[in-house]
Symmetry: C2
Subunit: 188 residues, 2 copies
């Protein structure tokens, strides 16, 4: 049965949002089109009225995930504050709402080019933001790019490792240690 144009647009957004969440939580291949549509309260057949293919959705959902994430890092949130939120069990346990870099890390290489492009753009924006924070706060702004790379690697690595560690207390310790070591080593 047909629905109103507004309703259809709402559905489109719901599908994109469901995809951005599920892809991050279960991976691209681990998420079925039917799952996404069910999450959006629709049946799978309606999918192809909204997107040309699962792969096309993957690219849009990747972009969406980065957008949401960068929006959530408001300009009032400093790098130390952001790290305090990022390197946490809370973030570890919510991959669906979490950092797309950590979520798609190894999956992305096996996706089609358009998905990789979106990922690429997201990573660049993310690193730029870190670099800017370092430059704003610190003295040696020439080093801020290099430092940003290292800090980003550490952030992503910590979440990825924490997620793959079954022992929850060991996993939490890993996060805590990493967070405090960053503070000491980079003085942030």
């Amino acid at each position: 049965m047909k629905v109103s144009k507004e309703q259809a647009a709402e559905h489109h957004r719901a599908i994109l949002h469901a995809a951005a969440t599920l892809f991050r939580a279960r991976g691209f291949d681990g998420t079925k089109v039917t799952d996404i549509m069910a999450e959006a309260k629709l049946t799978h057949g309606a999918f192809y009225g909204h997107f040309r293919s699962k792969s096309e959705l993957a690219a849009s959902a990747c972009q969406q995930a980065f957008e949401d994430r960068l929006d959530a890092w408001g300009p009032d949130i400093s790098l130390p504050e952001y790290l305090d939120r990022y390197i946490t069990p809370f973030h570890r346990d919510r991959p669906g709402q979490g950092c797309p870099i950590a979520a798609f890390a190894t999956d992305i290489a096996r996706q089609e080019k358009p998905v990789q492009m979106q990922f690429q753009i997201g990573v660049s924006l993310f690193r730029k933001r870190i670099s800017m924070e370092l430059a704003a706060a610190g003295k040696h702004s020439t080093e801020s790019n290099a430092k940003a790379s290292t800090i980003l690697s550490t952030m992503v690595g910590a979440i990825v490792l924490a997620r793959s560690t079954i022992d929850r207390s060991l996993s939490a310790r890993l996060l805590k240690e990493t967070r405090s070591t960053i503070t000491k080593q980079f003085a942030i």
Copy 2:
């Protein structure tokens, strides 16, 4: 046609080796049983004479990959030397022979328990080794566990990020910057 017991054992090893390589290079789900068997110069039907299932092979191959990797880090190789090899385009471009942590990072959560267990064991051994190197070389041995976590996160994060960066020169810069920042920050 039947082959000798030695030949069969050789085939078993070949399958395991092919799996350890291909799983790292293309992921668990991205690698077909047929591909593994072809790499081992056999046909897919023979697989189930050697392993009960693809999943069982995944666990063995994961263990194998860690074993190979840790064996390659001989006792004569110091942490700085190991980092010089790890955080490189060479490593980035050879996931099949590379670090299983970086290769399986996000995949592992979607595998069956036995595979996760093997991964877990491997990560622990790896971190222990880093921690020992730090304790041996440094003064503050109480901090070496925490530092080891951070360094491991950074190593894994750097390779994962470098692999997902399409622009090769940007990717190489990221590695170079991360390697040198670690030296400065941790004095190693």
